[in-house]
Amino acid sequence: MSPQTHGTLAERLFSSPLDRRFLHFYRRVFSINEIEKEPILQIALGALLLSVFLGLSRWFYSHTFSVSAYTDNVYTCWPYFQDCGRWYFLQALPEGYSQSIFFMGVYALMVLAAYFMYRKEWTLVHMALSVVWVCKFIILFILTSQLAANFDYYDTLLLFVVLFLPSKLFFARLAFVLFYFLSSTIKIHEGWILGTYFTTLSTGLPLFGNALAPIVTNLVIFMQIVGVWFLMSSKKLFQRTALIYFILFHLYSGILVGFRYPTIALVMLLVLFALPPVQSVLVPRATKRALAGWLFVALLFVIQFIPIIVIRGDQKMTLEGNYYGFFMFEANHQCISRSTVHFSNGTTRESIRESSDSTWRCDPYELWFVNHNRCERNPEITHIEWTFDHSINGGPFYRMVDVEDACALEYKAFSHNEWIRVPGESAAVVGYPVKNYFQ
């Protein structure tokens, strides 16, 4: 389509002088012309639409942020917004249709975005996807913590860059590189240096076997700290070598994580680093507009380092702040939580929750949240005794929580909670694990 036909539908829809001024303002603020001129950004939007579609389709029937989730106490809020449940208003099937209606509205926007991509109406694509992005962001980071997943962080953050920041291609590439670089910080830990995340799985490390595990895992660490930056190199040999490594890495990772993660990571890797841009991708000059991009970059670092610097203790054991930044494969978990609910009539009810799934994070916060809601909602409960034992990467089970009354506990979102014991300090060893399974 010739440049003159770009945006003709948008101009027909925004026809009045006021509309035109809004359109012009909108296009300038969000640098729509960058998308119009650079096919890589256009393809990136298509790839991100696919990833967002896959992510939202997994949430369609979810009971994590519905009214019934709140009433049944099967929801979990983020630690920084613990009252989120009071804001729930949608009802998921079979209790009601409102959540389905909401998601079909978002689906319609995604279909519209795809149509506008076909028509090369990039301003309208931007408008449709912006609404989709806001919906996803609110669900993922405000309404519930139960849907937190690294692949959803990937497409939400990359879509934010491509939609809302200037120098889109530069910051999209930089953000993608930083995803690996920041993820390396969670691997600088005994579990990855020894490779015990994988060797304590009953099935071991795929293809390479347990004997080579420490070599493989330390290679991954090295490539995420050093090798990843060669994706942005102007020297083709280095750039292509890094590209091939990460392509193979994501294909390999699919053996464990399935299609979802490679759909965003591998596809965007190819889009951003395998395709030649129309113009050279230069570091943006120090302007006010570029500041937005650099602030975003700074925010990525701040969020990733909150649990490392601000919150005392091993986040892989305490899970405090674990989900604020990237947390993929941070540790292989096993845990046992035992609660004894005491009622005013003298009766008690015991419940035990165990997990041998390496990917279930054994978060004391999640268990505290359920107990906390029980205490608040049921005046018949006098107190809840609670113990929580946790093992990572085949290491000892530590008694991380041992309290007489979970009802009396509070949870602080940005500092260590003293009632969560720390290995090496007050957390006692209570046993040792056997090998477990991935998923």
Binding site: L174, F181, S184, T185, I188, H189, E190, I193, L194, G195, T196, T199, T200, S202, N210, A211, A213, P214, I215, N218, I221, I225, V226, W229, V283, P284, R285, A286, W294, Q334, I336, E354, S355, S356, D389, S391, G394, G395, F397, V430, G431, Y432, P433, V434, K435, N436, Y437
Partner: protein
């Protein structure tokens, strides 16, 4: 390791205890040093990239 202290979660019955491989046993004493090396490398790379992508471009005149 005392086998009586094994904790076998439901679904893991019959699985062998989680133990270290010979290579892992050899590396264990050096883990704190390796952690230090990786963090030093990370900081070095971060510093270099900050200079290359942030400081140098901001010093260039328009």
């Amino acid at each position: 390791m005392d086998a009586n202290q094994l904790i076998v979660i439901k679904g893991l019955e019959g699985n062998e205890p989680a133990t270290l491989t010979p290579l892992q046993e050899a590396i264990v004493p050096f883990v704190p040093d390796i952690i230090l090396v990786w963090w030093a490398l990370w900081i070095l790379v971060f510093s270099y990239m900050t200079i290359r992508y942030v400081i140098v471009p901001s010093l260039k005149k328009e």
